[in-house]
Amino acid sequence: MTERALGHLRVIDLTHHVAGPYCTKLLAGFGAEVIKVERPGSGDPLRGMGPFYQGVEGPERSIPFLWLNTGKKSITLDLKSDRGREILCRLVRDADVLVENFSPRVLPALGLAWQRLQEINPSLVMASISNYGQDGPYRDYKGDEISLYAMSGLMNETGDPGREPLRAGPALAQYSAGMCAYSAILAALHRRQQTGKGEHLDISIQEASLVNIEMGLVESLQLGTVRRRTGDQHSMMPWQHYECADGEVAVISGPIRHWRKAKKIFDEPRLFQDKYDHCLVRRFLRDEYEEILRPCVKKFRKKELFHAGQEQGLAFAYLATLEEAVELPQHRARGFFQEVDHPVVGRHAYCGAPFRMSATPWRQERAPLLAEHNAEVYGRLLGFSDGEIQAMEEEGIL
């Protein structure tokens, strides 16, 4: 059997939506046994949110759910019932990690606060992910991705200066927090190996996302500068998209010291006059420089200019369509997309490992059906009989 980096760990996963599930998806992918605890009947609310496979709603057809929950086991359990909480505590007893992303008052109100869980299992690592952290004046604030993106200082810098700030398409704040929670858990496990003790981790999505603007933020703190939207005009120049013959190309003058090598690409000596030699000078001459550059770029097809730039060691790119992004020759050569079969939606190509470990590889599996592992977890793991499981299902506890 292939060894997995986290193959020795059992994780109780009380998360839903994005940040928590991405964290536990990574834990599962690197080998942990992740038991996702879902609400009886409807499960993770993300199961009810689209986009859905073929546009048809259904708990096993939500594409974000199918992506975010690969490699996990699903059980249902009503944490609002006494019996449900008692069962959860039994699961916690033999778990290494518990991850949750309820708002901060929820678990304490259910009698499942850290203090209580720690008594049951002193070596438990518990990670609580929330919008703004476990304390402070905003701890009960509600937020969707757009608000978290706004409150993390990211949105202020995205979009055009003359227009309203623009949210990023992907859930950048929540995904940042998911990775941050994964790191926090692994750090705690590294410490536990020495101390034998568990700990409670407080991950604020806002704080986890603030690292995204750490350079601008530290300058605000220490120099008093405040960044504004630039419409993607970079302080280095050129460092943005221009229209070419069949699309858009990112003309990136980096590594900066190599820009002169672009002489071999653009047959236009004016671009390489002495006065334009330093990128920090070029940015003050942006308009006149772009006036010379734009027609040069226009002559190329996007992939042609991308390769011409890379041949000179310059980090050019083209604006890929989603089809092109999936079909990148580099992805194909490295086998980045890997097919996963699923009993409801069938076989499709998902992104594979986020990074490749030579000794302890990633595990590419599908997301679980709702309650798919009730029999395994309640029967084999906790020792309930089939009759007991069925009775609890009928009572709505499972």
Binding site: T158, S183, A187, H190, Q194, Q222, Q240, E248, P255, Y350
Partner: protein, 404 residues
């Protein structure tokens, strides 16, 4: 307070620029000893473009990105320095680099070279495009990876409008670098086994931000985004003007209950039972009309005030905060988010990625001066005689901006 999670771990930070600096920095916050290896004739771009007054030691961004690190200057093309580097590998646990794979081969510090001197070493190589494949030796920055990964297709004011970059995907790759480092360290702690981690920043950005969107494309042959500031499912959602220059508040209505609360708040209680706005489908259909009404309400209010009123009414919302707002924000203040370096001059830094009941990370020191750790590493750790350690030759120093 327990010991720091990574106390006793030594990290060789062979990073350039931002993304690869983040993982080692996080380890430094959590107690590891991190040694940043620098090449003085061509310093990291984060050290800036100026040499006068040793400006390269003075940039807050350098102090932040590389806090809790020591700086060692080496020229690996010199035999003596390469030997020092390998001697350092022998007493280190992990090396992190974002060089293109062939560069490490050329310098003689590829994984196999490292393993010869330290069999259980971990190498996390987070190059732009990964090891192997036709683009392995290609160069890549955030501005390269965003358009190629499809990421940039998803951020725009309208479906066919200009595509924008997000802020800031370098860090997502840096955070995944931290995940890779810790996964390998945990495995080694338990089993004694080192390994090579091949992290393609192209794949990392795709995994951590594009996974669900590319899966939608693969499954359905289409993609819901971009939708500007609107939500693919809930409505209304948007970013609305507030009092003052460039001040904004965002909100999302997810339920009928939140919709009723919003109607009351913005002075349109008559909309509560209006058939046009029934359910999210109705509200999506009349989104423009709703947006105008919210904008009229919000434009008379300060952005923080609008957020507070919305939150009090139970509606998810957030003010669009800039660097100054964040610095003065009451919540971050209450959580003591901003911190000073323990050996520093009182200057404030963005704080920690997470908190722990067993003891938080720390900011021991700001990012190091160039070559600050030369004597500590070469003499203190490697036992080279003091007199053999050459002082940093100021004339040899060059910035990463100088044209070649």
């Amino acid at each position: 307070m327990s010991e720091q999670p990574f106390a006793g771990v030594r990290v060789l930070d062979f990073a350039h620029e931002w993304a690869a600096s983040i993982g080692p920095r996080l380890l430094g916050d959590l107690g590891a000893e991190v040694i940043r290896v620098e090449y003085a004739p061509r310093m990291c771009v984060i050290r800036g473009a100026r040499l006068g007054k040793r400006m390269y030691n003075r940039h807050p961004r350098w102090h932040q990105v590389n806090r809790n690190k020591r700086s060692l200057t080496l020229d690996l093309k010199k035999e003596k320095d390469l030997q020092a580097f390998l001697d350092l590998v022998r007493i280190s646990d992990i090396m992190v680099s974002n060089s293109r794979p062939h560069v490490l081969d050329r310098l003689g510090i590829a994984y196999d070279d490292l393993k010869k001197v330290r069999p259980d070493i971990i190498l996390v190589l987070m190059s732009a495009f990964g090891t192997g494949g036709p683009w392995s030796s290609f160069a890549g920055f955030g501005g390269t990876i965003e358009p190629l990964s499809g990421l940039q297709q998803l951020t725009a004011y309208s479906r066919d409008g200009k595509r924008y970059r997000t802020r800031e995907m370098d860090v997502c790759n840096g955070l995944m670098g931290a995940c890779a480092i810790m996964t390998a360290l945990l495995h080694r702690q338990r089993t004694g086994e080192g390994q090579f981690v091949d992290l393609s920043q192209m794949e990392t950005a795709t995994h951590s931000l594009m996974g669900e969107h590319l899966l939608e494309y693969v499954m359905n042959g289409r993609q819901t985004l971009p939708l500007g500031n609107r939500h693919p499912y809930h409505a209304p959602q948007g970013c609305y003007p507030c009092r003052g220059e460039d001040r904004w508040v965002t909100l999302t209505v997810r339920t009928d209950e939140e919709w009723r609360a919003l109607c009351g708040l913005i002075g349109r209680p008559d909309w509560t039972d209006d058939e046009r706005f029934a359910g999210r489908v109705g509200r999506r259909r009349h989104h423009d009309l709703i947006d105008r009404a919210i904008g009229e309400w919000s434009s008379g209010l300060e952005h923080y005030r609008a957020m507070e009123l919305l939150q009090e009414a139970g509606i998810p919302s957030g003010a669009v905060l800039d660097g100054r707002d964040l610095q003065e924000d009451a919540h971050l203040e209450a959580r003591n988010y901003f911190m000073t370096a323990e050996d520093g001059d009182g200057a404030l830094f963005p704080g920690l990625l997470f908190r722990s009941s067993a003891g938080n990370g720390r900011i021991f020191r700001r990012g190091p001066d160039l070559g600050e750790g030369n004597e500590y590493v070469l003499h203190g750790l490697l036992g080279r005689p003091r007199q053999e350690i050459e002082p940093l030759d100021e004339k040899s120093i060059g910035t990463g901006y100088d044209p070649e």
